[in-house]
C-alpha cells in the first residue's frame, strides 16, 4: 500500500515539519499542503504519514499543539514549534544539509 509512494529517510519528514513550523504555526492539513506545494509536488508524501511524525515530535516536546478555529471556520489542531524545537532545527538543519550534500556528491560521481 506504501509502494506507490517514495519512501523518505527516517527523520526527513520530521525535519520538514519543523522547518515549516519555524515560519508560523499551522494545523495538520495546512502543513501537508505547504510541504507538498513548496517541494513542487516532487515529494509524494502520503498525507496521513504526517500524523505519526507529529506524534513523535509532540512526545519529544519539539512541537506543541492546541485546538482552535481555522480561517475556514473549522475546528483544527494547530502546531507550533517549542523552544527546544527551535534549537533542534538550528542544529539539525546544518548537519542535514551536509549529509544531503554528501549524498548528492556521491550520486553525482556515480553518474560520471
Amino acid at each position: 500500500m506504501k509502494s506507490e509512494h517514495q519512501d523518505l529517510f527516517p527523520g526527513v519528514l520530521e525535519m520538514m515539519i519543523l522547518r515549516t513550523l519555524q515560519r508560523r504555526p499551522l494545523h495538520g492539513y495546512a502543513l501537508v499542503r505547504h510541504i507538498k506545494r513548496t517541494s513542487n509536488d516532487l515529494l509524494q508524501i502520503e498525507e496521513g504519514s504526517l500524523y505519526p511524525a507529529l506524534q513523535r515530535l509532540l512526545k519529544a516536546k519539539l512541537v506543541a499543539a492546541e485546538w482552535g478555529t481555522s480561517s475556514t471556520n473549522r475546528r483544527v489542531r494547530t502546531y507550533r514549534l517549542t523552544k527546544a524545537g527551535a534549537r533542534h532545527v538550528e542544529r539539525a538543519v546544518s548537519s542535514f544539509e551536509r549529509m544531503l550534500e554528501g549524498i548528492r556528491l556521491v550520486l553525482a560521481r556515480g553518474e560520471a
Binding site: 492539513y29 502520503e46 498525507e47 500524523y51 505519526p52 506524534q55 481555522s70 475556514t72 483544527v76
Partner: protein, 887 residues
C-alpha cells in the same frame, strides 16, 4: 499514580488524534467539493491521498506506547541470534559467568541453610538453649537445676532437659551387626517444645520417665526404615539397647537436625529421660552437662528470658552451695546451628563475591573486544536510524540474556558443587547436609545474575554504542581501531581482575598457612601409628567398676599380644580434645569456698597410657603395675598443672584432694587423696588452637568413682594402623560378641577432624583463588593478545624498519605488565584493608603476614608475566611481509 495519569492522558491523545484525522479528510473533501467534484468522489480521493487511515492512526498511537512485549521479544530474538553467531565468545562468557554465579549460589545455599532458613520447627523463633555459666565457661545445667529454672521462671512456656548418649544396639531384623548409635534420652515435653507429633503410636508418659519404667522407645522414621525395613506392625516390638529390651511405642519424624546436639550423627532412637536412678535427687544438683532447651512465651525477648533465669539462678545459688558461682545464659537455638561457621561463611561469601567481580570484569572485557569488532554493524544500524538508546537497549538485552544463561548454568554448577560438598563434607560440619537449592537460593541467583549483567554489560555497552553513522565509512571497514577510551577501560578491568585475584590468593594463603601451623604443632605425643576405638560396656552385663576393669585388663592384654601391636592402653581420655573437669585442692592449701576451688581435667587411664602415646616424662616416674587397685592412689600431672598450681617447687610427692565429680558429691564421704608421682609434658586437650588446660591423670583401677562403661582403646601399631583392625575386631568378638567395635579411627583422622573447619575453609578458598587467578590470567592474556592482533601492521612495519626485537616486545608487553603491577599494588592494599575479615579464623598467623603477602604477590606476578610473554612471543615471530600483504 503517574502510570494511571499516563493511561488517562493517553486516552485523550488518541481521541484528539482521531478527531484530527477526521478533520483533515473533511477539509480536503470540502476543498474538492468546492472545486466542483461530487461529494462521494471527493471522499474517495481524499482517502486515497491520506493513505491507510487505520494503519497510520495505529502508527501514530504506537509513539506513545511503552516498548511493547513484542518489541522486547524481538530484541531478545535478535540478541539470541547475535550470541549464536559467535559461539566461542558466547560459550567462554557463559562459562565464566556460570563459574562466578555458580560459586556464589553454592556458598549462598550453605549460608542459607546455616544462617537464614528458619529452623524446621513450628515455633522456631521462640526456641532457645539454656546454659550454665561459670568463669566464662558454659556447660549444660544439671537435671534438678533445669527443673527448678523451668518451674520458677516466668518467661518460659516450657523448659526441658535431655541428653544424647552413645549406646550399644544389638542386631535388628534388617541390620545384622551390633553397633553404637546415638540415643536421645528425652521426656515427652522434648517433642512438645519442638512441635513434633508421633507419626505412629504415642509419646512417653510421665510414668515412663521414671527410672525403672523407662524401657520404652520411640524410633525416628529413618531408623525404622533402616533397622526394621519400615515394618508396619512395629508397635510393641522391641529393640535391644545396651543389652536391655525396650518396647517400641511409636515412630517420630526425622525433624531433629544433626547439629542440634553438635554431633556428627542423627539420633535414631529416643528413650525416656532416665539417665540413672538418682538424676532428680539433690545429690545430682552438681551433675551438670545435660542439654536444656526451652520454648519462650510469645513476645518474650532473649534479654528478658536471660534476666528472668538469672534471677532464678541467683536464688538457687543461695539455697544450694554447689550452685555458687553459676550463672545462666539463654541463646537462640538457631545459634547452635551457626556454631562457629559464621566467620567462615562470611569469608567465603566475600571470596565468591570477589570471584564474581573477576568474572564480570572478564566478560566485560570480552564484550568490549567484541563490540570493537561489531563497530561496523553498530554504525550501520545508527545510519539506518537506530538511536543511541535503541542500540544500548539492544546491547543490554544481549548482556541480560548472557547473564541469565550464565545464571542458569551457574545453578546447575551450584547443584553439582553442593553434591560434591556433601560428599566430602567433614562430619563435624553437619549443617552442610541441609544445604540445597531452594526458592531463596534461586531468587538470590536470579538477583545476582541481574546485577552481574549490569556489572559487566553497562560500561561496554556505553562504550560500544558511542558510534556515529559516519564511523563505519571513516574506518574504511576495518575492524575498528578500538579507540583509546575503550583500551583504557579494558586495561582498568584487567587491573581489577589482578587486584581481586591477589586478594583471594592472599586469603587462601593465610588460611592455608594457619592450617599448616595448626598441624605442625607439637601435640605432646606421637600421632603416627596410633589406632583408636570406642568401647561401651553396658551396665547390665558389666555391673560396677570391678567388672569393667576386669574386662578392660583382659581385652588390653589380648590386644597387646596381637602381632603388629607395639603397646595399647584403655583410657577415659582421648587427646587432642577432652573435658573431664574436676575441682581439687592441693593438700595443705585449702580453699575457703567451693566456688574458689581450682579446677583441672581429671582423667583416668590404665598404666600404659603415657608409654603408648609416647608422652614425655619430665620428672618422677610413670605408672607401673606396682600401683595396684588397693595401693595408694597415684597421679601424673602435666606441665601446665605444675606451672600453675605448684610453681617453683617439685610437684613429685605433693598430694591432691579430689572433690569427686560433682554428681557424686553427696555419695562419697571423703574426697580421694592422690599423690603426684610424676610430671608429664603437655598434651593438647582443648583442640589444636588452644593451650592445654591443667591435667591430672589417675589410674582407672584406683579410681572406681570414675570408672564408667565407656572407654577409648588406643593402640600403638608397628605396622600400618588400619591393617590391625580385623585382628582387633576378632579379639573383641572373642571376648564379647555383643559389643560393637565402634568409631575405629587412626589418630591422624581424629586430629584431621579437629581441623575440619579450617580444612574446609582452606579448600574452598583455594578453589576460589584458583578460579580467580585463572580468570585474571585469561584477562591479562586477552588484552596482550588483543593488543598484538590490533597492532599487527604497526609491529610488522617496525620490524621491517629494523626495530630491535626487545623494543617490539616491550611495546606489546607494556599493557599486560602495567596491569599486573598496578593490579598487584591495589590487591595488596585491598588485602591489607580487608585483613579483619579473616583475623578470627587464623591461628598463629597475622592477617597481614608479610611472607604470605609477598609470596602470593610473587606467584601472581610470575603468572601475569607468563600470560604476557606468551602472546608477546607471537608478536616477535610475526612475519612482517605476510602481515603487511594480507592487510
Amino acid at each position: 499514580m503517574s502510570f494511571l495519569r499516563r493511561l488517562f492522558s493517553r486516552r485523550r491523545i488518541y481521541a484528539d488524534l482521531s478527531e484530527e484525522v477526521r478533520a483533515h479528510i473533511e477539509e480536503r473533501v470540502g476543498e474538492l467539493v468546492a472545486g466542483g467534484m461530487p461529494r462521494s468522489e471527493a471522499l474517495t480521493v481524499a482517502r486515497r491521498e491520506f493513505g491507510n487511515v487505520t494503519f497510520l492512526e495505529e502508527q501514530a498511537r504506537e509513539v506513545w506506547r511503552w516498548p511493547s512485549l513484542e518489541s522486547v521479544l524481538m530484541d531478545v530474538r535478535l540478541a539470541a541470534r547475535m550470541l549464536r553467531k559467535a559461539p566461542v565468545f558466547t560459550s567462554v562468557a557463559v562459562l565464566t559467568l556460570a563459574l562466578g554465579i555458580g560459586a556464589n549460589a553454592a556458598i549462598f545455599s550453605v549460608l542459607n541453610a546455616v544462617l537464614l532458613r528458619p529452623l524446621p520447627f513450628p515455633d522456631a523463633d521462640r526456641l532457645v538453649r539454656v546454659l550454665s555459666i561459670k568463669d566464662g565457661f558454659s556447660t549444660g545445667p544439671s537435671a534438678p537445676d533445669a527443673r527448678d529454672l523451668g518451674a520458677e521462671s516466668h518467661t518460659f512456656e516450657k523448659l526441658v532437659v535431655y541428653d544424647t548418649w552413645r549406646k550399644n544396639l544389638s542386631a535388628t531384623p534388617t541390620s545384622s551387626e551390633p553397633e553404637q548409635i546415638r540415643v536421645g534420652l528425652v521426656p515427652a515435653e522434648y517433642f512438645e517444645v519442638l512441635g513434633m507429633r508421633p507419626i505412629r503410636g504415642r509419646l512417653f508418659t510421665s510414668e515412663e520417665n521414671r527410672w525403672g519404667n523407662h524401657h520404652v522407645a520411640l524410633l525416628s522414621t529413618a531408623f525404622w526404615q533402616t533397622h526394621f525395613g519400615g515394618e508396619r506392625e512395629i508397635l510393641g516390638k522391641t529393640v535391644r539397647i545396651n543389652g536391655e529390651a525396650y518396647t517400641i511405642i511409636g515412630i517420630v519424624p526425622d525433624t531433629v537436625p544433626t547439629w542440634m546436639d553438635a554431633r556428627s550423627e542423627k539420633v535414631g532412637v529416643f528413650t525416656p529421660f532416665a539417665p540413672d536412678a538418682e538424676v532428680w535427687s539433690e545429690s545430682s544438683r552438681g551433675g551438670r552437662g545435660f542439654t536444656t532447651i526451652g520454648l519462650l512465651k510469645s513476645g518474650v525477648t532473649i534479654d528478658q528470658a536471660t534476666a528472668d533465669l538469672q534471677a532464678v539462678a541467683a536464688g538457687l545459688a543461695k539455697r544450694y552451695p554447689i550452685d555458687r558461682g553459676y550463672g545462666v545464659a539463654v541463646e537462640p537455638l538457631a545459634q547452635s546451628r551457626v556454631g562457629n561457621l559464621r566467620p567462615i561463611l562470611l569469608l567465603l561469601m566475600a571470596a565468591v563475591g570477589l570471584t564474581l567481580l573477576i568474572a564480570c570484569s572478564n566478560v566485560a572485557n570480552l564484550l568490549l573486544a567484541r563490540y570493537g569488532v561489531r563497530q561496523r554493524e553498530f554504525a550501520t544500524r545508527t545510519a539506518l536510524g537506530a538511536g543511541r538508546s535503541r542500540l544500548l537497549r539492544q546491547l543490554l538485552t544481549e548482556s541480560v540474556l548472557l547473564s541469565l544463561v550464565g545464571g542458569g548454568a551457574g545453578v546447575a554448577l551450584a547443584w553439582l558443587g553442593i553434591g560434591i560438598l556433601e560428599r566430602l563434607h567433614p562430619a563435624e560440619i553437619s549443617q552442610l547436609e541441609e544445604a540445597r537449592i531452594d526458592a531463596r537460593v534461586l531468587l538470590f541467583t536470579f538477583a545476582i545474575s541481574g546485577l552481574t549483567s549490569i556489572g559487566f554489560g553497562v560500561l561496554p555497552a556505553l562504550a560500544g554504542a558511542r558510534v556515529g553513522p559516519a564511523d563505519a565509512l571513516k574506518d574504511g571497514g576495518r575492524t575498528g581501531s578500538g579507540g583509546r577510551q575503550r583500551r583504557v577501560l579494558r586495561q582498568a578491568l584487567v587491573v581489577a581482575e589482578v587486584a581481586f585475584s591477589l586478594m583471594l590468593l592472599i586469603g587462601a594463603g593465610l588460611v592455608m598457612k594457619s592450617l599448616l601451623r595448626l598441624r605442625a604443632q607439637d601435640l605432646g605425643f606421637r600421632e603416627d601409628h596410633l589406632l583408636t576405638e570406642h568401647l561401651f560396656l553396658p551396665e547390665t552385663r558389666y555391673p560396677g567398676p570391678a567388672a569393667i576393669t576386669r574386662f578392660c585388663d583382659r581385652f588390653a592384654e589380648r590386644v597387646r599380644a596381637t602381632p603388629g601391636v607395639g603397646d595399647a592402653t584403655i583410657t577415659m581420655i582421648l587427646p587432642p580434645s577432652y573435658r573431664w573437669k574436676l575441682t581439687f585442692t592441693v593438700v595443705g592449701r585449702p580453699a575457703s569456698d567451693i566456688a574458689e576451688m581450682p579446677t583441672a581435667n581429671f582423667g583416668v587411664t590404665d598404666a600404659h597410657y603415657v608409654r603408648t602415646l609416647g608422652i614425655r616424662l619430665l620428672r618422677g616416674r610413670d605408672f607401673s603395675e606396682a600401683d595396684t587397685a588397693t595401693g595408694a592412689r597415684v597421679a601424673l600431672v602435666n606441665e601446665t598443672f605444675a606451672r600453675r598450681f605448684l610453681p617453683n617447687e617439685d610437684p613429685v610427692g605433693k598430694q591432691i584432694d579430689l572433690a569427686p565429680p560433682e554428681t557424686l558429691a553427696a555419695r562419697t564421704a571423703a574426697a580421694p587423696r592422690l599423690t603426684i608421682i610424676g610430671v608429664i609434658g603437655d598434651v593438647k586437650n582443648r583442640g589444636l588452637a588452644r593451650n592445654p588446660d591443667p591435667d591430672i591423670i589417675g589410674l582407672i583401677r584406683q579410681n572406681p568413682e570414675q570408672n564408667y562403661g565407656f572407654k577409648s582403646v588406643i593402640v600403638r601399631t608397628t605396622i600400618g594402623p588400619s591393617a590391625i583392625v580385623p585382628s582387633l575386631r576378632r579379639e573383641l568378638a572373642a571376648l564379647d560378641p555383643d559389643l560393637p567395635f565402634a568409631e575405629v579411627r587412626t589418630m591422624g583422622e581424629i586430629v584431621s577432624r579437629v581441623t575440619a573447619d579450617d580444612r574446609f575453609t582452606a579448600l574452598l578458598l583455594a578453589i576460589f583463588a584458583g578460579l580467580g587467578v585463572t580468570l585474571a590470567v585469561v584477562g591479562v592474556y586477552g588484552i596482550v593478545a588483543y593488543g598484538v592482533a590490533q597492532r599487527r601492521r604497526e609491529i610488522a612495519t617496525r620490524i621491517m624498519l629494523g626495530a630491535p626485537m626487545t623494543s617490539v616486545m616491550s611495546l606489546v608487553a607494556r599493557e599486560g605488565l602495567a596491569a599486573g603491577v598496578i593490579g598487584i599494588t591495589l590487591g595488596l592494599a585491598g588485602a591489607l584493608a580487608a585483613a579483619g575479615v579473616a583475623a578470627s579464623l587464623l591461628y598463629g598467623v597475622s592477617p597481614r603476614d608479610p611472607l604470605t603477602f609477598g609470596g602470593c604477590s610473587l606467584v601472581l606476578a610470575v603468572v601475569v608475566l607468563v600470560a604476557t610473554l606468551v602472546p608477546c612471543s607471537r608478536a616477535a615471530t610475526l612475519d612482517p611481509f605476510e602481515t603487511l600483504r594480507s592487510d
